[in-house]
């Protein structure tokens, strides 16, 4: 069957229109917008805001996914046989805070915390790379 490929022909017309758009000067584009009753500044602001928002939300989503994967890996690593005891964790963290006081300031100096806080603090410091879990395996 040798019917003309209308879809390809339409693609060629779209390309011609696009070529013209790209060859149109900024001043001419503003003139056209004015003639068509379009507010170029308002449209551009709206489009850019949406692009900015999309970029940020995509990045947030990807970082959140990466964090979830990292936490999942950590959970696998933390089997009861390899995780230090709670007393050991307290000792490790306190030693670390003495070695690097800035970490202590960042993590509320490590005093009077619940057991869950100690575990969470330990996890955070492992994620940060300040503690290497393999150095403290039971």
């Amino acid at each position: 069957m040798t019917t003309p490929n209308v879809i390809a022909e339409m693609a060629a017309l779209r390309d011609a229109a696009l070529e013209d758009l790209m060859a149109t000067s900024d001043a001419q584009l503003r003139q056209e917008a004015m003639e068509d009753g379009e507010d170029i500044d308002a449209i551009a602001t709206c489009v850019k805001a949406k692009m900015r928002e999309t970029a940020a939300s995509t990045l947030r989503q990807r970082l959140s996914q990466a964090k979830a994967q990292s936490n999942a890996k950590l959970m696998v690593q933390k089997t009861p046989s390899t995780l230090p005891t709670l007393e050991q964790i307290k000792q490790i963290v306190q030693n670390l805070f003495q070695t690097d006081p800035s970490l202590g300031l960042a993590f509320r100096s490590g005093k009077k915390q619940a057991d869950a806080d100690w575990l969470s603090l330990y996890d955070d410091l492992v994620v940060m790379g300040a503690i290497k879990p393999e150095d403290h395996e039971r």
Partner: protein
């Protein structure tokens, strides 16, 4: 931060965000107009939808995942327009279309795609789906034909634009069209502008298939 397995000239996520901020109002407006021209016959309902998809793909690639990589030596505007064009083409070349093209390629001399389908019926596991896809493809061709007829009719009174339409449909270059139509460069540019602007008014909001 640049993921370690990307080529050196790949834009980072920060590069992409900075490039968005650096777009002038005219460039941003031009990008919206380009998307408007390119979404015809695609799944995208609005220019912003396809622009956003291009951003999602670009950020993903910059973050080391699958997506569309922006090589920094290509200007951001040019990259965005090519990406939008690629996304629009991908959308038009849906799996249904690809399968239909495959069936049509299998048709031998004197045998239509329908007849080829008939011969395949004994072994094709999902013949109903394929027939539906073929019908959808035919519908798309019909829509494109209707749009092309509308364009031809609209510009019938402007001989310069008619030359441009005919020339581009035949795959001729701008120089060839100018020569055939005996148009100067200025006349050609002016006629092509009238064509684009006429097209925008003929299909407001959505471009033809």
């Amino acid at each position: 931060m640049k993921p370690y397995d990307l080529p050196d000239n790949t834009a980072t996520t920060d590069d992409v965000r900075q490039a968005i901020e650096a777009l002038s109002k005219e460039e941003t407006y031009r990008l919206r107009k380009a998307a408007d021209i390119l979404i015809g016959g695609t799944e995208y309902q609005a220019p912003l939808e396809i622009i956003n998809e291009a951003i999602v793909r670009t950020i993903s690639a910059a973050n080391g995942e699958s997506g569309r990589r922006w090589p920094k030596d290509v200007p951001f505007m040019a990259y965005m327009i090519q990406t939008i064009k690629g996304l629009a083409n991908d959308s038009r070349e849906s799996s249904a279309q690809t399968k239909t093209d495959h069936i049509e390629a299998m048709a031998v001399d004197g045998l239509s795609a329908d007849e080829a389908l008939g011969r395949l019926e004994h072994c094709h596991p999902d013949i109903v789906t394929t027939v539906v896809e073929l019908e959808e493809s035919q519908e798309r061709q019909d829509r494109a034909k209707a749009a092309a007829d509308k364009i031809d009719a609209h510009f019938a009174g402007d001989s310069e634009i008619t030359w441009i339409i005919m020339g581009h449909k035949d795959g001729q270059s701008a120089a060839e069209i100018r020569e055939l139509a005996e148009m100067t460069e200025t006349q050609y540019s002016s006629a092509r502008r009238r064509f684009r602007r006429g097209l925008e008014k003929l299909f407001p909001g959505r471009r033809p298939s």
